[in-house]
């Protein structure tokens, strides 16, 4: 016959209630926290979705909470018209896609030089690249604007055409030139990512390619680039998304050409005489939803790469 204390001890050893309780409390707490945060992130999105298809009648109907009773596409049509949605989307897409591809090339080339093709002064040059990340874009805003307003490329254009300078404002050239020279939006960061990744690729692979008679260019695009796919994916995704969302450079270089982010800012004026402020804000938010829509659809397909990419780029460690 055992004493009750012994039974209790055995029970504790067998089921370990304290540990179990701790674990379950943590699981519940974690689930609450995560679902709470997810709710906070998704709530505005759902709200916008719900409001976008709501007709004028439903606005003041207290029984309509989430799902509109009178389903309508009128808001969407009005918003599309006010922000010139179709040309704006096409312009935004053209800018984002072209700059993404161009700066991928220019950043990867420079980063490869920094990682493997050391020359005198390359350390200093890389220091300057890091410095470009740190300087606020506002500091060089005006000279940058003037550079493109009176663009002469160190006097070369004047030499060939006879004119003093060309005006590149309201064309896509500022974006193409900036990204071609690896000075576009956050390009210092991309160079840094690529350099870190190229440094992580074993030197032996390159040496083998060299022994087999490959030159520097061939080594670069046959050996290094295929190995750097995670870094390429990261840079592609981030540069596309950031360029798409950018309103700073876009509003600096483009005033007549409409893109999504400036279209959104000018939308309030474009709607004009809408007497009902509630309906006005509904229209504005339909516009926001419309400008987000292409990215959200894109994200549904590529979100997996987003999460994986940074983990594999070697940005860390």
């Amino acid at each position: 016959m055992k004493r009750p204390a012994a039974y209790a001890e055995q029970f504790i050893i067998r089921y370990n209630p304290a540990e179990r309780a701790k674990r379950w409390i943590w699981i519940v707490l974690r689930a609450l926290l995560i679902s709470g945060f997810c709710f906070i992130i998704l709530f505005p999105l759902f709200l916008r979705l719900s409001v976008a298809f709501r007709s004028r009648v439903d606005i003041y109907d207290p029984t309509v909470l989430w799902i509109p009773r009178n389903f309508t596409l009128e808001n969407v049509e009005k918003a599309i018209e006010a922000m010139q949605y179709v040309p704006a989307t096409l312009n935004t897409f053209a800018i984002s896609a072209s700059t993404t591809l161009i700066q991928l090339v220019s950043c990867a080339l420079a980063a490869y030089a920094f990682a493997r093709l050391k020359f005198r002064g390359s350390g200093l040059l890389f220091g300057l690249v890091v410095f470009t990340i740190v300087v606020p874009p506002q500091t060089i805003m005006i000279p940058l604007y003037l550079t493109y307003r009176y663009f002469d490329l160190f006097g070369l254009i004047g030499l060939f055409t006879g004119k003093d300078s060309v005006n590149l404002i309201d064309t896509f050239w500022p974006f193409l030139i900036s990204s071609g020279t690896a000075m576009g939006l956050k390009n210092g960061l991309y160079i840094y990512i690529f350099r870190q990744f190229f440094r992580g690729i074993p030197k032996e692979i390159e040496e083998a390619a060299l022994v087999d008679g490959a030159g520097v260019i061939r080594t670069f695009y046959r050996i290094m680039l295929p190995n750097a796919v995670p870094a390429i994916v990261t840079v592609l995704l981030f540069s596309f998304v950031w360029q798409w969302n950018d309103s700073y450079y876009v509003s600096l270089f483009l005033s007549k050409v409409k893109v999504l982010s400036t279209g959104l800012m000018g939308m309030g004026v474009a709607i004009g005489g809408e007497p009902d402020p509630v309906y006005f804000s509904i229209l504005m938010n339909t516009g926001v939803l419309l400008s987000m829509a292409p990215l959200i659809i894109l994200y549904l397909f590529v979100q997996r790469y987003f999460v994986e990419s940074v983990e594999r780029t070697g940005l860390v460690g």
Partner: protein, 295 residues
């Protein structure tokens, strides 16, 4: 006969060639504008036909900024205070979120996908549009008066009554009230912390488990020191990230393109740059003293 280059020289040559686009860009779109912008800040600029005239003026713009300009000191203080307030919250939150998302649980892939949604949607153009009027529209339409659902009046009262310093209480409750803003600003930081968590070697955790460390101890003795270099990275990133969405940005742009006072605007930008550089340098210096490098 042509002398053949050694391998090192060939490589260096190609390195220079690969860097030509970058160097052109650096000179044309960064170094020259930087010098020019500094020159502008010391002069007044007049647009004339086919170009512009720069007249040297001395430090007049700088003294004007701090003595007679009404908006600038306030906007600068606001931007700096916002940065100083937000960055620690963002770091704490993203570290916490990364640790949460790194654990194994059902639906982790979905939770991760949702947490990175703000990275996609973090557009300053969208942020500029007044969300409150929109929420107001919905609540007035649906007849509910709980529009303050995301506010923390009770929490604030309780914390104040328990005798915690009001400054700290306001800080914490302020962060809770702005939770959406905080979450949407910390997407990239969460990604970086997550990547860091993945790269910590499991053998460290094994060893600490064998030594009998609890989860709490493991976090502070293993996870936190191993992540400390990334805290530095993320602090720098958060500070840089705050450049594009603050009030001073608008002030600088409107001074330049609405008032056409390029000199004054350049001076503002340089003062802002100096302040930011100072904050970056001090915070980097402080954190790097505490950072632990494994190898």
């Amino acid at each position: 006969m042509k002398k053949r280059l050694t391998l090192e020289q060939t490589k260096a040559l190609w390195g220079v060639i690969f860097c030509i686009p970058l160097m052109t860009g650096l000179i044309m779109l960064f170094i020259l504008p930087l010098i020019q912008s500094f020159r502008f800040s010391l002069s007044s600029i007049e647009l004339v036909e086919g170009g512009f005239d720069v007249v040297y003026q001395g430090f007049g713009h700088y003294t004007e900024l701090f003595t007679s300009n009404a908006d600038f000191p306030r906007a600068l203080a606001e931007a700096v205070v916002n940065m100083v307030v937000n960055v620690p919250i963002i770091i704490f939150f993203s570290l916490f979120a990364a640790v949460l998302l790194n654990q194994k649980f059902r639906g982790r892939a979905l939770a991760r996908a949702i947490f990175f949604l703000p990275v996609i949607l973090a557009s300053s153009a969208i942020a500029n549009i007044d969300v409150s009027s929109f929420v107001g529209a919905l609540t007035s339409g649906s007849g509910s008066d709980e529009s303050n659902a995301l506010q923390s009046f009770e929490l604030k009262k309780m914390l104040l009554e328990s005798g915690i310093s009001p400054v700290f209480v306001n800080y914490v409750t302020g962060a809770v009230d702005r939770i959406y803003e905080i979450i949407s600003l910390s997407g990239v930081q969460i990604l970086i912390f997550l990547a860091g968590l993945q790269s910590i070697s499991p053998s460290l955790y094994e060893a600490s488990k064998i030594e009998g460390a609890t989860g709490y101890e493991t976090f502070w003795k293993v996870t936190f020191p191993m992540l400390s270099p990334l805290i530095l990275t993320n602090t720098v990133y958060s500070i840089i990230d705050s450049f594009t969405h603050n009030s001073i940005n608008e002030l600088i742009s409107s001074t330049a393109f609405k008032l056409f006072d390029f000199g004054l605007s350049a001076a503002m930008a340089w003062v802002y740059f100096a302040v930011v550089a100072f904050i970056l340098a001090t915070s980097a210096w402080f954190i790097s003293r505490k950072v632990f490098y494994y190898d």
